[in-house]
């Protein structure tokens, strides 16, 4: 990947974000609201002061994990749409590990709860991954189905076995030793932000510097060539699905251990799905995940304050978010899909050879 192309991608995405906000402004105006006020409260809500910024970053954290999860799957050519389900399994597993294992010192307790979340999310993705590798069952279908099964399973378990007395379907609060400490006092932003960056760093290292990462990418970029090189494509697909699910599971863990401090049914506003948009916007580059997740985090927190202070209905805000996805992520998604369809025949994912000359097909 050349630096120039990277820069163009970045500039394009930035332009598209502005255009989406502009279009959103037109819509807000047409609906009879004050555009200036709307966007002022948006930016104030997203970045206005330390606490608002902390709030934005808090919402960014799960998106870093779910976005990274999708990106890891993509490296092996797999489209993991099951982030949401994996997130819920990870969240519950972490909550249970936090609640039922007692007497551990804080750092160890947190580590154990995180490991439980990663394990649960990973196992939940492993099944579709294994089915894909063994039988060719399409991972998009199976992971979507596993979302439903997973979310309902978790809801059932909580209701039936782990519910705290009271009306809400939620567990009791986890002990202090399992809570991820906050980064800024009195905010909900925790050290999990660095955990997210650590995950990015680890994935980046894996892809660039290890045999396993090389092989996962080979499988994703050119399956026949990977077979030629003696790579066990099925095993690599399964492993990358496992990794992807583990990372998605951590998204749930950090929510439970850092923000909610308990498991609550239906707590996620769709972090798993937004992660797809994040990954697409980041072009599946590990370090691209950070700014992409931040953008969607800001849209969420800014949107809330727009609703609160400019009294703009949430629907309109959702529409603006939709515009961003449509303009920023959709073209990139099309590009990725087109490249993956072309892949068997052409070596140029950048579409450099429209005449398909044999030499450079």
């Amino acid at each position: 990947m050349s630096g120039k192309k990277l820069f163009i991608d970045f500039a394009y995405s930035l332009g598209a974000v502005f255009f989406a906000l502009l279009l959103g402004g037109v819509l807000i105006h047409l609906s009879g609201y004050d555009v200036r006020e709307a966007y002022l409260s948006f930016f104030d809500g997203a970045f206005g002061n330390v606490y608002n910024l902390a709030n934005t970053l808090m919402m960014t954290i799960p998106l870093i994990f779910t976005g990274l999860a999708v990106a890891v799957g993509f490296q092996a050519g797999l489209f993991n749409v099951g982030g949401e389900g994996q997130l819920y399994l990870g969240a519950l597993a972490s909550a249970l590990a936090a609640l039922f294992v007692r007497g551990l010192p804080p750092v160890l307790h947190i580590a154990l709860a995180l490991a439980a979340g990663a394990l649960a999310g990973g196992l939940w993705a492993l099944v579709p991954g294994y089915l894909k590798a063994r039988t060719g069952a399409h991972e998009v279908i199976t992971t979507i189905m596993f979302n439903y099964v997973g979310i309902l399973l978790v809801a059932f378990l909580v209701k039936e076995y782990f519910k705290e007395p009271g009306r809400a379907d939620q567990t009791s609060m986890i002990p202090a030793s399992a809570r991820i400490p906050e980064l800024i006092p009195d905010s909900r932003l925790t050290w999990a932000l660095f955990l997210g960056m650590l995950a990015i760093l680890a994935v980046d290292y894996l892809l660039k510097n290890t045999s396993l990462g090389y092989e996962i990418q080979a499988v994703g970029q050119n399956l026949p060539a990977a077979e030629y090189a003696g790579i066990d494509a099925r095993a690599r697909m399964t492993v990358s699905m496992l990794l992807s699910g583990m990372i998605a599971g951590l998204a749930g863990s950090t929510m439970v251990l850092g923000v909610l401090h308990r498991f609550i049914n239906n707590f996620s506003p769709g972090y798993g799905y937004t992660g797809i948009a994040v990954a697409v916007l980041a072009r599946n580059k590990p370090w691209g995940i950070l700014p992409a997740a931040l953008l969607f985090g800001a849209l969420q927190s800014g949107g809330m304050s727009m609703q609160l202070f400019a009294r703009i209905p949430m629907d309109l805000m959702t529409l603006v978010q939709g515009l961003v996805i449509l303009l920023v992520a959709a073209p990139a998604l099309l590009e990725i899909l087109a490249a993956s369809r072309r892949r068997p025949k052409e070596v140029t994912p950048d579409g450099r050879d429209p005449d398909g000359h044999l030499q450079h097909q």
Binding site: L212, Y228, D232, G356, H357
Partner: protein, 503 residues
Amino acid sequence: MGTDALRMRGITKRFGRIPANDAVDFTVAKGEIHCLLGENGAGKTTLMKVLFGLHKKDAGEILLDGRPVEISSPGDAIAGGIGMVHQHFMLVGRLTVTENIIAGREPRSGFLLDYRRAREMVREISGRYGLKVDPDARVEEISVGQQQRVEILKALLREAELLIFDEPTAVLTPPEVQELFGVMRRLKASGKTMIFITHKLKETMEISDRVTILRDGRKVATVETARTTPARLAEMMVGREVELRVARPEVTRGERILALKDLRVKGADGRYRLNGVNLEIHRGEILGIAGVEGNGQLELEEVVAGLLKPAQGRVWLGAEEITALDPGAIRARGVAYIPSDRLRRGLIGSFSAARNLILGSQRGRAFAPGGILRHRRIEEEARRLVADFDIRAASVHEPAAALSGGNQQKVVIARELSRRPELVVAAQPTRGVDVGAVEYIHRQLLKMRGEGKGVLLISAELDELRALSDRIAVLYEGRIVAEGPSGGFTEQELGLLMAGEGK
């Protein structure tokens, strides 16, 4: 020859800092077949893409029939009477021949396509130039040679006067090449002008009127075909004398390295692609497999490499049976494999040249002890191979997809031959590479033979087979129909055997 159909003057095209075309002057007379020659990466395709509006030139001008024109898109080129026969066809497989040819020029009745009239249009134009096609066949069901005709008809229907053929023969069988030449001659007789790119000097000598040679993006010369020789052309392309035929020294034949016993491979349609093949290769020997592609060659190379499992039969490497081993295990036992489809099998386009040069060795002590890639070592190895094998790349970090075709092939060959193999499976090793590289690859294969390795050479080039092989086996419809010392066959005999008419 009258006026010039095309004049390109001072054409410069840069990719980054490196010029792919450097002030190239190129003139094509009306009604001639003009051959464009040059090494891999010399800039032939680039020049043609500038002409067809697929690349924006940095400098220079283009004149068609003496008039300056501005070509900034293929649409402009087509309007100017230029047609390009793409190497990799841009056809829609599920549509019929007729639908493909008339796309964008559909005769209509009301809103609907007037298919009857469309078919008539196709009939008329294919009759006029003797390009036989079945107008109602679906494109995905016809042969590559026929698809190429559809491409030509597409250009002709758009009233092209100047046709560009970029390596059209690379994918054709010898009889199909002859058919194409017949078509080109008829087109010439009806006044069309053609530009023809090939790496096969024999074809240049046979079909062209004049030849222009490019080297490193610059024009070297334009000569009349009748007044030159293949050796002179090769020298102008490469800048030194090229041995068009390398010598094959005597080597004593060693023990058996590969044995295939009664191999049978079934295709998806249930028919046998390999039907009882028995072959042996000894150390210090090159066994050539002759045959028209599609007679089991692909299955043969993939079975030996372990990518395809035979329905029946056994494969032995030395004293060990390898029939059931996976490709990685076979590779680890010293089988190097140059696949016929280098882009699909042999390279990962988005990976850098350096990463491609360790494909297959991405694990193990050499480059990744403990599963951690050693970038310094990988880069050193890449630089060594780039120098040894004369791979022309801006840097070893360049993605493989950005290399010219011949240089991609050299990456595969360098990688495979540098691993101290015991057996080399080389399938179509010189397809699409220039004469200098052909010489080089031939030398390398002979060197392997000299070092006591076995070589399985699968090739559609009879010259290549006869020059390199100790023995030749002819593969026809999945069976070995003849086998013997390579001196025992004349070219004619081989041609007949390959067509299934031998004995």
